[in-house]
């Protein structure tokens, strides 16, 4: 059983810790770094609730070891809203379209959408909806989430619809 000293940037802040090799990134983010917005659902890669952004890409944090994120830039749902509380566009649209109900799966949906819409990316509605097939929600019936994805998608002219 090996222990490793790791350092990573989480939501713009440096975090370090000593972890057993078997600790998942999701558990490190929750238990060591305190980012409990990382929701751990199935712990075997099916539900998508634990999705975070690692070096710009949405990944399941239960399917990665914490030690593998050594040196990485990690963003959790806590890292999206501005410091004055202004919501990230993805959060705002999900709020307006009733894209959440109990909220357990929501951080996963938010991070998947945020990874695909941040920066210069211009995803189509089809791309967003298809990426959301990797997230499971048991209460909204998905229609609000689909409406939010539609609003976040770019139309052919490259404008947000």
């Amino acid at each position: 059983m090996s222990k490793h000293h790791i350092e990573m940037t989480i939501n713009g802040r440096r975090h370090s810790g000593d972890v057993e090799a078997r600790v998942s990134l999701s558990d490190f983010l929750r238990d060591d770094a305190g980012y409990t917005g990382v929701h751990v659902g199935c712990e075997h890669g099916v539900c998508g609730a634990c999705t975070v952004i690692v070096d710009g890409k949405a990944v399941r944090s239960c399917l990665m070891l914490a030690v593998q994120a050594e040196g990485a830039q990690v963003t959790t749902v806590e890292g999206l809203a501005a410091s004055d509380g202004t919501l990230h566009p993805v959060q705002q649209v999900l709020l307006e379209e009733h894209g959440l109900q109990c909220g357990f799966c929501t951080p996963g949906f938010v991070m998947t959408l945020a990874a695909l819409t941040d920066g210069d990316a211009k995803p189509s509605e089809q791309q967003l909806v298809s990426a959301l097939s990797g997230n499971v929600c048991r209460c909204t019936g998905y229609q609000g989430i689909r409406r939010a994805a539609k609003r976040l998608a770019c139309n052919e002219a490259g404008e947000n619809s």
Partner: protein
Amino acid sequence: MKPAPFDYVAPTTIEEACAVIAEAGGGATVMAGGQTLMPLLNLRMSQPFIIVDINKIAELKGVSRGAGVTRIGPMLRQCDAITSEALARDLPVLVQAVRHIGHHQTRNRGTVGGSIALGEPAAELPATAVALNATIEVRSTAGTRKIPASEFYLGPYMNTLQPDELITGITFPDWPKGHIPLFRELAQRPGDFALVGIVGALVVEAGKITRAGIAWFGMGPTPIKAKTAEQMLVGQSLDTLDIQAVAESAIADTAPFDDQHASAEYRRTVGKRIFASALREALKTGEVA
């Protein structure tokens, strides 16, 4: 639900990785993208003594050209395979197959070599490797070995890889410009394993099929080369080709079983239909080649 304790090493060279794997004497498990291994660890279905993480080995990444072949590094991530210009040009059907693996989030970590090494019988990439006559290069401290993909798979999740061997490359022979990709799968939801699938490529010259490489997935304990169909197709003139007859005969190569998702009979019925419809669709676009 946490993994049992293990040691972890992340070598940066192939030699170092092979040395660690050899030293562990069968107790090591190699981690590529981890999108299947991590669930197995979390569920404690797999309890290795040591995890050898090959994510830091630069030599195992990327796509390169060799003499008459495209060589894929096993650590090429599935998301990078989808956006690879070289693969879109030289192996379009592989890109099409990768799009059907898992979900966006798992393709961001999952690798081409990981999927080929695992050998899930209903997975897209092992069948693609078998269909296109790929060769799997493996290395151990004892040396290197090249295994034809058609001889690599022994059963579900079982292959001829020895405990001390590491996959270092997958080479796909060239297909001429203008060849026709063939891909069709039926799954209950996008991202699920296929109930039935076929993958491959065809070359049509002057109205005749001159080359065919096709394999089934989800139709037996391993990916299955569609030998009967290949033999019937090569040399056939498109004018006289009886697609339905080829589909009826092709199914004889498969060995599907009953499981909770579908019966063997259902798989055979659907297999014939998707084989025929995929072939019809492919040849319609390929007549001008």
